[in-house]
Subunit: 240 residues, 2 copies
Amino acid sequence: MRSDTKKKGVLYLVPTVLAPDTSGHIPPVVKLAISECQHFIVESLKLSRRHIKKLVPAKVIDNCTFMELNEHTDSVDYSDYLEPATNGHNICLLSDAGSPAIADPGAVIVRLAHRQGIRVVPLSGPSSILLALMASGFDGQQFHFHGYLSRDQSKRKNQLRAMEQQANKKGVTQIFMETPYRNRALLEDLLRVLNPHTQVALAVDLTSHRELVKCHSVGHWKKLTDLDLHKKPCIFMIGV
Amino acid sequence: MRSDTKKKGVLYLVPTVLAPDTSGHIPPVVKLAISECQHFIVESLKLSRRHIKKLVPAKVIDNCTFMELNEHTDSVDYSDYLEPATNGHNICLLSDAGSPAIADPGAVIVRLAHRQGIRVVPLSGPSSILLALMASGFDGQQFHFHGYLSRDQSKRKNQLRAMEQQANKKGVTQIFMETPYRNRALLEDLLRVLNPHTQVALAVDLTSHRELVKCHSVGHWKKLTDLDLHKKPCIFMIGV
């Protein structure tokens, strides 16, 4: 009886910076949640500890518990992860960059929280997808985020052609990404496959001092041969 | 010559609060941009002035210029709007709630800025779409935002069925919205049309003290007869 009536903690979804030294993009609600929380579910221990220490320098990290959630923890039974909340303590869920559960780990924990009747509270903050879309100038009334495209080149070319159709004929802005060291290869495919008049926007190094957001026709992008995307976080968009 | 070599101003894309008294969701970069800016492009004068005054109380609003961008200004020649930036002054672009140019006015100005070689700088902050998706627990690796569905009921039902397919068969989370006073009607359509096992999430009054984020099967939603969505901002989602 007692455990049923006990007030449960909250699961905060906590965005983190996209680039070093950009904590100006983190709102007060995030600092507050981190300050008041002792339990963290994180994508990687090292980055999260550093991030928390930077945002809330007074935080005593050694008093906190950390549980990891990433591609190496697939076989873990995550149901234990929410035990602190069941016992009345708040939990912060963080990914390594940007907003958790969006193109990043986290959704599995959020689903569990809903199932266990734990309140889920999303906090505002950086999201490279949203920032890229806002800054592209493309239609933001309808958009489709595809995540990573296929690694098979012929499938990927078909995906690019299908996205071009959706953008040009239906006005649905298409958003996608690539592992940073493959950015150049994706851009080259894109420039080979798409119509020269199709509009493409790239958003690179968002929020950092090297941030670059450009929108050009495919024909124009082909002329920009000195563009350096290598190992830089980049969001690709096709739109009107 | 002189005007060509003069340093241009920047167009800041500035998110605003989703609910009254939630400035804790606004990051320092937004306050800084508003503090340092004298030129504003806004969805509505009254709300924006109030918002700016609340965020930066020391701001002398009467020294600022405001240009309106909304459904009533369609015939206006927006190219003048960016003149301050051409003359070296920064401009802030704000919508009434959330992130500009996403399910809100703004994209037309961003496109103009790109064409005129004015740097576009997106700032982090509240976006009901992103917050809803994070908190839904649905797959955030692929998602499609549809904006408003058709007002024609039979078309809308077809859209709902097509979205259900995309969610259940392809794993693409479907996100959509409705004018708040029609929320209940949309929910009723949705519950009539979709399979009882299909998962639906609603995010209502995000960031406010009345915030509610729930994810249930259609069958379960049908039993929640006391749900009050009337005139409340709500994001609808179908997902897995």
